[in-house]
Symmetry: C2
Subunit: 347 residues, 2 copies
């Protein structure tokens, strides 16, 4: 008995011990561990400090480990070069680091073949579960994971997903509407939008939000103001150049991503057009670059880190064979006002 | 015999088979696998394509795996929020993805305690080897890894390292000198430099390169032009504000990092000073943001992705118990001229 206690103490503390040390209830510790929002910041900090001091390892997960699991959670992302995936990985890492699990990182470079190589590794090397950030062609792999009974959660799904697939995404439609409403409130009427790919659900939802805001404001939709492309800097550059050549160029652009917005910035500079005095730009994502550039970028914050955190919490529940509150979680997008927009000067 | 061949074919191809398919020699395939620079780009591409098609798995590593290894390579970085670590992780991932190994990612948030938690996981969960990007206080953990006979390579070591520790870094001194020489060549004489931490070897080397360039050009070194700080945006902002208050402010700043340069940009903008016409800025790192901002940032490219690749190749050799060509590898830094510097206007 004594030995058993010692063993446990040296390895980890129970939730009850953490609760006692922090002077809070057991459900509160549980809420902190699950990154639930309904904990006062001060309390969260105290509980987290004690967890850190104790080297706490989530008992449930540890128990799973002892039953001969791999001890590994997989995260698969398109690539680390777009910064977008990096934010999701950060969130996943934050949760995993509180457990005894390890995080295996794989990138697919948007290539279906790479995804299949990853699947091969996973099936050979075993995994406790996977978090997938996939851009296209994912359905075959999802079926295979299902068949092998490997728990998984999809983040920011970009195609249509079956209702039985656990997923976390952001409120893209509301974000698109909020960006457009903000530009309308500054007096802009000639507002363009740049798409990130017409086959991507997240992108079409943003454009639909843009349309809704214009319609609600009684502003006519000009098809030539809705530009196709990818979520990359180059798209932003090229489409801005084309927009500026229109007989009636726009006075503002709502970019599909912050990376596109960086391309918009350089195209405007190449044309000698000043942001925000002569032209307004709103981005989407709020990756770190948005607050670093000059002028800082007004953008729609997509809670990428939180999406990673929530997906991981969902996955840990699936691994522990606990029910999910919801198979589909949509986290709120927020308008972050910085320096890249200004009121339209009176003509 | 026949069955054996089939088995091998379905799992992986030998180097000899890859060489035959690509029409190159076995050493050439080996050079591609080890990311050696002495392969013509066209040849490298062809060999890589065939490797991809065949799902080739490095035989040596596979053999190691079969001897009951964990099949996991660990990468430990301070965090994914500075973009700097992300680039190194990308390079590590590129090499790992060609093997049957998996990459376990851990972040330490610069906290020694987190490093020790990682060590605990590694010792419990086993690892084939580790790549460490540590900022401080690492010596205790390095000793522990040594004692446990876990192979490891340190990337961009920031303190003093024993000569028996395998490491990869960049030529920081040459980079500091090249940045300063470039500003001198544009006519600047009042050139400031921002440090990234006087205890960090990589930073003091850059400042030493700055001093060497000024001395060589016969330009007096003003102690007030050498500013302390961290490799963060805020340091760039604060130190620029202080430099601009000097009786004789500088006309150019060599930043310790691209992140600092972003802070310099915003401080200059707050003072209504235009880059590059009124003030020149050189960064250090060449993280993706450098080519995205407006004006694009002239910087010293630190080959972070390559550093990650080379460290991984070294680690795979250590795991295979092959000798290293060198315990310490320094990769070359390069001046990347973009838009943030201009000739000093004649007074």
């Amino acid at each position: 008995m004594n030995q058993k206690t010692n063993q446990r103490t040296s390895k980890s503390h129970t939730i009850a011990e953490i609760a006692a040390k922090a002077g809070v209830s057991i459900p509160t510790v549980s809420r902190v561990l699950n990154n639930r929002p309904d904990v006062a910041p001060g309390t969260r900090e105290r509980v987290e400090r004690i967890i850190d001091e104790c080297g706490f390892v989530n008992n449930r997960v540890t128990n799973t480990l002892r039953k001969g699991s791999s001890g590994i959670i997989d995260i698969v992302v398109p690539g680390l070069d777009t910064l977008y995936s990096v934010e999701i990985v950060r969130g996943v890492g934050e949760v995993i680091e509180r457990t005894g699990l390890r995080l295996a990182l794989s990138t697919t470079n948007n290539a279906l073949q790479r995804e299949q190589q990853w699947l091969g590794k996973v099936l050979e090397g075993a995994t406790d579960g996977a978090i997938l950030v996939l851009s296209r062609g994912q359905s075959r792999n999802l079926d295979e994971l299902h068949r092998r009974k490997i728990p998984f959660v999809v983040v920011d799904h970009r195609g249509e997903l079956g209702t039985d697939i656990p997923s976390v995404s952001a409120t893209n439609w509301s974000g698109g509407r909020a960006a457009t409403e903000y530009l309308l409130s500054l007096g802009h009427r000639r507002i363009a939008v740049i798409d990130g790919g017409s086959s991507l659900r997240c992108s079409t939802d943003r454009v639909a939000g843009y349309r809704a805001a214009l319609e609600e404001a009684g502003v006519a939709i000009h098809p030539e103001y809705i530009r196709p492309g990818e979520f990359m800097q180059q798209t932003g550059y090229e489409q801005t150049c084309m927009l500026l050549e229109l007989p009636e160029p726009p006075t503002a652009i709502f970019a599909g991503s912050d990376l596109q917005a960086m391309g918009i910035y350089s195209a405007l500079r190449a044309h000698g057009i000043a942001v925000p005095n002569e032209f307004s730009v709103v981005g989407f994502d709020d990756i770190p670059i948005a607050s670093m550039v000059t002028p800082t970028l007004t953008t729609i914050r997509q809670p990428l880190v939180e999406m990673g955190r929530v997906a991981t919490t969902m996955l840990l529940r699936l691994i522990a064979q606990e029910p999910l509150d919801s198979m589909r979680v949509e986290l709120t997008t927020t308008l972050i006002v910085r320096e890249s927009c200004a009121s339209l000067p009176p003509v």
